[in-house]
């Protein structure tokens, strides 16, 4: 029951087209005047709107200063594929959110773009909702335990993204969220997408059946190499350290050189001071 009530949110966010006003008014007045309503008028109105829109598009193309500013939208790599679709700042007494949200574009596969951009939006909405609730709870906890309103420092959230690799076949990017309260913690979400098929790529797709051995061998030897430096102290296998990747869905991205970079979050295989751990797999991808 509670869940069903919650979905009201979605129900109420069904977009209402601008033409509704027109349709309603027209239906009321035409019936009042006892005239037969003609759907042609409505279609005509719609095509007028479409025409205006077309003019607008043409104007954009003719207006050099506008065209110039369009070009300034961050084009990363050769092809503009991941760009900032929305940037916002949301501040109140419990939190400060700064977000730069990416979207996929220009892949030549609009269905794929729609799906991925929808997924990104969902992810970000989820993060924001979670944060808001946590910030509220935290503030209440501060006050409930005798803290003063002014002692409370808003939680600071930053959402951004980085493009790893982009070609006409594959695009790879990461979205990250940092949360700073007393200390800071960052979470990463990776997207590696085959543009032609729309498939989300995993390690098996890129390295073949033998992916686990390739990745494990490479990481073991890199850990050994890095451990020669006394400042690095990876967890031992028996203390929850690296013990081979579990499956092909291990987190990774593809870097500018087109190489796979395996990622372990902070604390996952090494103490927190060492931060996020990345291992480049020096093998050509399939």
């Amino acid at each position: 029951m509670k869940n069903i009530k919650k979905a009201k949110n979605v129900y109420n966010s069904i977009k209402v087209p601008k033409e509704l006003d027109y349709v309603v008014n027209r239906a009321i007045t035409s019936e009042n005047r006892k005239r037969n309503y003609s759907i042609l008028h409505f279609k005509y109105a719609i095509s007028t709107i479409a025409c205006l829109f077309l003019c607008f598009v043409v104007m954009i193309n003719l207006n050099p200063s506008f065209a110039a500013s369009v070009e300034e939208i961050p084009i990363i790599g050769n092809i503009a594929k991941v760009f900032t679709v929305l940037e916002f700042k949301n501040e109140d007494d419990t939190k400060l959110i700064e977000a730069k949200i990416p979207a996929l574009e220009n892949t030549g596969n609009t269905e794929l773009e729609k799906r991925i951009n929808y997924e990104i939006m969902l992810k970000i909405n989820e993060i924001l909702k979670e944060t808001e609730e946590r910030a509220k709870e935290y503030k209440e906890a501060v006050i409930a335990t005798g803290g003063k309103e002014e002692d409370y420092k808003p939680i600071n959230i930053q959402i951004g993204y980085d493009l790893g690799y982009s070609s006409d076949k594959i695009v790879s990017f990461e979205i990250h969220k940092s949360e700073t309260l007393a200390s800071s913690y960052t979470e990463y979400y990776y997207y590696n997408i085959d543009i032609e098929t729309g498939k989300k790529l995993n390690l098996r797709d890129l390295l073949g059946e033998n992916f686990k051995k390739i990745v494990d061998d490479s990481i073991y030897s890199q850990i050994e190499e890095r451990s020669k430096n006394p400042e690095n102290s990876y967890f031992k296998k028996e203390d929850g350290g690296f013990n081979g990747i579990e499956n092909e869905y291990q987190d990774f991205y593809i870097n500018k050189d087109g190489k796979i970079v395996i990622v372990f979050e902070k604390y996952e295989i090494a103490p927190g001071y060492m931060g996020k751990q990345e291992f480049i797999i020096d093998k050509k991808i399939v």
Binding site: N9, V10, Y11, S13, I28, E31, N32, L122, N125
Partner: protein
């Protein structure tokens, strides 16, 4: 009933977005929803004499609207194949919408119309059981039975999502 027409017109104007969303719940298509709302308004104005008491304007109009929706579905059975993608496209993104909520909303769309109507009216339009009974011309116990049955089916859908 001199100004019944004015009351109806005001009601429609004040609630046009709600009316559109109901139509969209059935047709899942923007243009079709506009047509449905349009038809319902025309019909209601034509038959204004049937409105016996002004206080029933809301239930009376819902009745006409939902009949329009059901008729549309009957006519276009082949075209509507649970357009879930269309639903996603129609959602206006705001803070705080989660994927769970979207899944539930989609699950509601999958319900048979007789359950869907009652669940939408009860939970999203916040109507009383008595009002729903009037709109659907069912007796109160049938409405209740369908509501519980609908919720039961929905619960199973939701469990399957998890």
């Amino acid at each position: 009933m001199q100004d019944a027409k004015d009351i109806l017109i005001n009601y429609i104007k004040d609630n046009q977005e709600k009316l559109y969303r109901i139509a969209f719940s059935y047709s899942k298509n923007e243009e079709a929803s506009l047509d449905i709302v349009q038809e319902a308004i025309t019909k209601s104005l034509k038959n204004i004499k049937q409105l016996k008491e002004e206080k029933y304007v809301k239930t009376w109009f819902y009745r006409i609207l939902i009949n329009e929706c059901l008729q549309y579905i009957k006519k276009n059975k082949r075209i509507i194949t649970c357009e879930l993608q269309e639903i996603e496209n129609a959602i206006e993104w705001k803070d705080g919408i989660t994927s769970d909520e979207i899944d539930i909303y989609k699950d509601i769309q999958k319900l048979e119309n007789k359950y869907k109507t009652i669940i939408i009216l009860r939970f999203y339009e916040d109507l009383k059981i008595e009002e729903i009974a009037k709109i659907t011309k069912l007796n109160i116990s049938t409405v209740k039975a369908r509501l519980y049955k609908g919720l039961e089916i929905l619960k199973k859908f939701i469990e399957n999502n998890e």
